[in-house]
């Protein structure tokens, strides 16, 4: 607790030295912070893009940018999707894992600290390459985030924006693959003495399987992006039907990456929720072994369901049936997790502080996203609502209601460890309720406009379709959401200076990261304690009744 007070007396070096320090660091903690900061920056950019999209759709036949509206609208939703998936979702989760995994397993750093730095910088530069397209004559790409062929062909995308899109994702993909390798090596080889794989904190377990998915899913995307570049730059015909190529090849390759990607974006969040809910319910995680098996199950099943994004392509009936059945299968391990979280909370002494608030928000909102996902997995339903706003509503419930709520829960939980300061609870509540209400208003009505037949990605619509009111509610919801993100960023920055000191262990938690100072020293732990159970700190706090007596 006294740490903070003393820190302010330490001479801080001049700013060029500090910048140099951050640019050259290989410390997993600093890299983690920069990853999260990068993601927050792009979250604001992607959010502004979303607001412009919503503003354009508020009224039928509107043209907020005049003549250029159709093109600009296409560019906006392309950038919005690409940014949120590649430059917000993955970096924020990789960043949090970067910061936390070594601390949680009692290591001094990641297995490959320099590779770790490379990952951060490729992510940043990949993002910059993508956004450089704003400076090119044709502007940003207008191909949608999944960039279906032949839209990416030279015939339809003559400008350099599409090349920059492919190169940006290629470059940042290098960093993502590096991060996956790094996590695997760190988790498999650098755990504290006594911490068997069955005793790692649950967040670490989910990162292990996320890394497996990264290694299986990102390389196919990289390969496919290289094929796009070859098609465009060297006149290859991989995706060019007129010359013997196949646009479906792109769809298969993209979704072979794209579906596991959604689990790359949600498995770590399952981990965060599995850390927050026990600590704030004052109980151990219910059914750790089943949760662990469910995580593995999801990681494996998720590799074999990609063509549920392609029902409308006209695959063979048998193929449709297989992919529908496989996709429905995912709901079983996911359901196990849902019930185990509820069982963890049941009968617990629940503390409704910010991390728990967002965790509960996650449970409710992700449930809705999961249920509409089950609907969409059923091929005949998908025939009806594919490429409508129903799908848009569905995946925003999983990505905002799921990933983002979980990330907020995690940031409220670990910010005290990272900075030594507590975040403001009042601001957290404002953020939570604005976000929840705005989010429901934005994405709930999309299910209705989708069922009413509104296709996604249209830049406007006629007034006689009955879609106006649903779009207006959505836009109003977006306007309600917008301040919640600003409140969050403000909370992060203001609490850095004025938040109450956190101390080493503000939540009375049980995993190793809370045993060191807040913020931790560069070497994390002076001496790494021997671990005997899944809750090492519980064992130290309750020597007469430690967990290892009960764990098998």
């Amino acid at each position: 607790m006294a740490t903070i007070e003393r820190e302010s007396h330490v001479e801080s070096p001049p700013w060029p030295a500090r910048v140099h320090d951050w640019l050259t660091t290989v410390d997993h903690k600093k890299l983690g912070i920069m990853y999260v900061a990068l993601a927050m920056g792009f979250l604001i950019i992607g959010g502004i893009e979303a607001l412009l999209i919503r503003w354009q759709l508020m009224w039928p036949e509107s043209r907020i940018f005049g003549q250029d509206t159709p093109t600009l609208f296409n560019q906006l939703f392309t950038l919005h999707g690409t940014t949120m998936v590649f430059l917000v979702g993955m970096p924020v989760l990789i960043g949090m894992a970067n910061y936390l995994v070594p601390l949680m397993i009692g290591a001094r750093d990641m297995a490959f600290p320099r590779l770790n730095a490379l990952g951060l910088w490729t992510t940043l530069f990949g993002g910059l390459v993508l956004y450089l397209s704003f400076l090119t004559p044709g502007g940003p790409p207008a191909i949608g985030w999944f960039a279906y062929a032949p839209l990416t062909g030279h015939t339809f995308a003559r400008d350099v924006g599409t090349d920059l899109w492919a190169m940006g994702l290629l470059v940042s993909g290098v960093g993502t693959i590096g991060a996956g390798v790094n996590f695997l090596a760190t988790i498999l080889a650098m755990r504290a003495p006594g911490m068997t794989l069955g005793k790692v904190p649950f967040f670490v377990w989910t990162i292990l399987w996320t890394s497996v998915q990264i290694l299986l899913a990102i390389p196919p995307l990289t390969a496919a992006l290289i094929m796009v570049v070859l098609d465009r730059q060297l006149g290859a015909h991989f995706f060019d039907a007129a010359n013997g190529g196949s646009p479906y090849l792109w769809q298969h390759l993209f979704w072979f990456f794209g579906h596991p990607e959604v689990y790359i974006l949600i498995l770590p969040v399952f981990g965060i929720i599995s850390e927050v809910i026990p600590v704030f319910s004052r109980k151990v995680l219910f059914g750790y072994e089943f949760m662990a098996a469910a995580t593995m199950g999801i990681a494996f099943i998720a590799m074999g369901v990609w063509a549920h994004h392609m029902y409308c392509v006209g695959l063979a009936r048998t193929v449709d049936i297989y992919f529908a059945a496989a996709s429905l299968l995912v709901s079983i391990p996911t359901g196990i997790k849902m019930f185990n979280w509820l069982a963890t909370m049941y009968g617990g002494r629940i503390r409704f502080t910010a991390p728990m608030l967002f965790a509960i928000g996650f449970l409710a909102m992700f449930l809705i996203g999961g249920l509409t996902g089950i609907m969409l997995a059923v091929a005949p339903v998908d025939f009806q609502v594919s490429d409508t706003y129903f799908v848009v509503g569905h995946f925003h419930f999983t990505l905002i209601g799921g990933t983002l709520f979980g990330v907020f829960a995690g940031i409220y939980y670990w910010y005290p460890k990272v900075t030594g300061r507590m975040l403001s609870e009042t601001l957290a509540r404002w953020q939570f309720w604005l976000l929840l209400v705005g989010f429901l208003l934005t994405f709930g009505p999309m299910h209705v406009s989708g069922v009413l037949g509104m296709p996604r990605r249209i830049y406007t619509y006629l007034p006689d379709r009955g879609w106006d009111v649903w779009n207006q509610i959505s836009t109003i919801g977006a306007l309600i959401q917008a301040p919640s993100y600003l409140i969050f960023v403000w909370n992060l920055m203001a609490s850095l200076r004025s938040g109450p000191p956190a101390g080493d262990d503000p939540w009375d938690a049980w995993t190793l990261e809370w045993a060191t100072t807040s913020p931790p020293p560069p070497y994390n732990f002076e001496e790494v304690p021997t671990v005997r159970s899944r809750r090492p700190l519980w064992d130290f706090k309750h020597p007469d009744d430690p967990d290892w007596k009960y764990e098998g």
């Binding site: 006294a2 740490t3 003393r6 320090d21 640019l23 050259t24 660091t25 290989v26 410390d27 009692g106 290591a107 001094r108 750093d109 600290p113 320099r114 590779l115 770790n116 730095a117 490379l118 910088w121 490729t122 940043l124 530069f125 910059l128 390459v129 450089l132 350099v160 090349d163 920059l164 190169m167 940006g168 470059v171 960093g175 650098m190 504290a192 570049v229 730059q233 004052r282 109980k283 151990v284 009968g347 002494r349 101390g503 045993a515 060191t516 100072t517 020293p521 560069p522 070497y523 002076e526 001496e527 790494v528 130290f540 706090k541 309750h542 020597p543 007469d544 009744d545 967990d547 009960y550």
Partner: protein
């Protein structure tokens, strides 16, 4: 595995390095060049080569690591304070143990009686409608049977006004089952509504009937639109309200009984609840 600190109080950590940043910049430039101008790619490749050389050089023994001194004693983590004693198990009846809510409930028989009374009173508005509208008493009954029997929707209005044995029996069956089910639901639900005067009557007499009336209106539009045309909705609403009010009054007026305590279940010895 993190090695313990050496005797000098230093920890060996990898040194800061600029090469990953340079390598990433080179890669991005090379990519950018592919799409724009080859010159950029050349610069990017040069940067990449430089970076890899610099990076590898730092992997030579004796380079690339620094000894970080341990933080001063006053900046070490606060030692974890052990709490003596075993963890107390949370048991029913202890302060802080969650009550099973509600503590007292209406007996199951109250729900059944409520359903029966409501079910007996409900036909009154329905028959009143039949008679006053000139359609006769059998129309509402036949329409009810139409919930189950699809052939009803093909009948003409004149046919629907006639007494028909099968329809009558089916309608009676539907009526009894639904009345009893909803009565039972009332028995379970009404004790859980907030405790302010009249709340239970409001919930049972107005809110719940309004909800299922709305639901059945919507559902019927999907399942059996022809039938919906025949129903006179204002009177329909009235009869639902009569049922709701009657069932609610009966349920609310019965004596509540305490929920049976959980007996004979010992908690397992593992410390699954933190009472520390």
């Amino acid at each position: 595995m993190a090695e313990p600190s050496n005797p000098q109080g230093n920890v060996e950590l990898p040194a800061a390095t600029v090469w990953p940043l340079v390598l990433a910049a080179g890669l991005a430039l090379a990519g950018l060049g592919l799409a724009t101008s080859a010159l950029l790619s050349v610069v990017g490749l040069a940067l990449m080569v430089t970076a890899v050389v610099g990076w590898v050089a730092e992997l030579l023994p004796g380079r690339g690591h620094v000894a970080v001194p341990l933080a001063g004693v006053e900046r070490r983590p606060v030692p974890v304070k052990p709490l003596p004693g075993r963890v107390e198990q949370l048991r029913p009846g202890m302060p802080g143990h969650r009550f099973r809510l509600p503590e007292k409930v209406h007996p199951i028989s109250a729900g059944i009686r409520g359903g029966l009374v409501g079910g007996l009173l409900m036909p009154i508005p329905a028959l009143t409608y039949g008679i006053t509208s000139g359609h006769g008493p059998w129309l509402p009954i036949n329409l009810l049977a139409g919930l189950l029997l699809p052939r009803v929707e093909t009948q003409t209005l004149a046919e629907l006004e006639q007494f028909q044995w099968t329809l009558f029996l089916v309608a009676c069956g539907i009526h009894v089952v639904i009345s009893l089910t909803i009565g039972l639901l009332y028995g379970v639900l009404l004790p859980t509504v907030p405790a302010f005067p009249g709340a239970q009557l409001l919930a049972g007499g107005l809110i719940l009937p309004a909800m299922w009336t709305g639901a059945s209106y919507g559902l019927m539009g999907v399942l059996n639109p022809a039938l919906r045309e025949h129903v006179h909705w204002p009177w329909y609403v009235v009869s639902q309200l009569v049922f709701g009010v009657a069932a609610a009054i009966v349920v609310v007026r019965t004596e509540r009984v305490a929920v049976a305590p959980i007996v004979g279940r010992e908690l397992p010895p593992a410390p699954r609840e933190d009472r520390a």
